[in-house]
């Protein structure tokens, strides 16, 4: 099978576009999509410092490589931040991969752990939550606390932007999940950039228009070392929506792009529908929040973990 564009041996059938791509054309196309997203949404400006959330998984490691390469030409500084949630048999395997890639690229590297910040690993938090018959999914604890620590780390590093490696699949899943849950507040915050607010480092998603499979192929074709494994806590509605969208994409190629594009067209109309809230400081940790206690501290206090004021 031959590449539609250059006639070399094809490695990938981009069904949603009706084209076959060779290794060179696929990797170039992934890079072009990254650059286009950065330029179109003005995600990175010259001389900025960019903190990147790097778990060691394929998406974040590829994002690290692409951003580091882009920043070389824009006189930007790059720092990689890994959150060690403390998931035995999972995060301990991905951490060395994140570190190796950061070292290879000569990028400033920082690890922040749940244990140090909250006094407990995610495994310990989940154990307590189960004992207390909490109805919260482990992803709720992990997501809330990880976001808070990433923001804090990026702020302390003096970063102008915090880049996450959300890909097209992640974004389509998040849109669908918020629809299913009727969560308008979270839905309207999705997009390529989360605007600056006091205490928050603006979050950017430069990989948002690249399908997950193309990122994985990019890593394999470029021989980039990544950690390929599924989090032991991944299940529930997130995975159901992911599986549904993957099945739908096979039957109806381009579904994921259409979901994201449609949302992007609707987003400007949603902006005025949300009330802006006044930013406060969490009574416990001092992090920015819309109420007197941030969500991370609220969850921990509910489980009986001590939070120091």
């Amino acid at each position: 099978m031959k590449c539609t564009f250059c006639g070399r041996r094809a490695v990938y059938n981009r069904r949603y576009a009706g084209t076959l791509l060779c290794d060179r054309c696929l990797t170039k196309s992934v890079e072009r999509r990254f650059w286009r997203a950065v330029a179109e949404h003005k995600l990175i400006a010259p001389n900025e410092k960019i903190a990147i959330a790097v778990s060691g998984g394929k998406d974040s490691v590829v994002a690290l490589h692409l951003i580091a390469d882009y920043c070389k030409n824009k006189n930007c500084e790059v720092a990689a931040v890994t959150i060690d949630e403390g998931i035995k048999g999972y995060r301990d395997h991905s951490l060395p991969v994140a570190r190796e890639n950061a070292e290879e690229l000569g990028v400033e590297y920082l690890i922040v752990s749940f244990k140090e910040a909250y006094g407990a690993t995610l495994d310990e938090i989940v154990r307590v939550a189960k004992k207390r018959k909490s109805r919260q999914h482990p992803c709720t604890y992990c997501g809330v606390m990880r976001r808070s620590l990433l923001n804090k780390a990026a702020r302390e590093l003096g970063a102008d932007k915090l880049a996450t490696a959300h890909n097209l699949d992640d974004e389509a899943q998040a849109i669908m999940l918020n629809y299913v849950r009727g969560d308008f507040s979270r839905l309207h915050r999705l997009g390529p950039i989360y605007p600056p607010r006091e205490g928050f480092v603006p979050r950017i998603k430069p990989m948002r228009e690249i399908p997950e499979k193309e990122i994985a192929l990019y890593a394999l074709l470029k021989d980039i070392k990544v950690h390929l494994a599924v989090c032991p806590y991944a299940d529930g509605i997130h995975t159901e929506i992911r599986d549904f969208l993957n099945d739908f994409e096979v039957k109806h190629p381009n579904t994921k792009f259409m979901i994201v594009r449609m949302f992007d067209r609707m987003k400007p109309h949603l902006a005025g529908a949300m009330h802006e809230f006044e930013m406060q400081r969490c009574n416990f940790c001092g992090e920015p929040t819309s109420t007197s206690v941030c969500k991370a501290c609220e969850l921990l206090v509910q489980l009986g973990f001590k939070r120091q004021k």
Binding site: K58, E212, A229, A234
Partner: protein
């Protein structure tokens, strides 16, 4: 009678292999369907080369399936 081929299938990161019988002219996509894999969630190497799902398989091919949906 329909001619058959046998390919060796290996899952990424695992040593164990499996022999799978397919009809001659079968594609990677047919193999994935038989093994219940959605082509959107795996990458496939055939004889150590990354290939699209439409690639036809030959007798004695060695196929590696790499699950790419990872993380949380």
């Amino acid at each position: 009678m329909t001619k058959m081929i046998v390919v060796t299938v290996k899952l990424y990161g695992q040593r164990r292999t499996k022999k799978i019988k397919l009809t001659q002219g079968a594609k990677i996509a047919d193999l994935l369907k038989q093994l219940n894999y959605n082509p959107d969630v795996v990458a496939v190497r055939c004889n150590k080369k990354i290939v699209p799902e439409e690639e036809r398989l030959l007798n004695d091919d060695i196929v590696e399936i790499i699950p790419i949906v990872t993380g949380g």
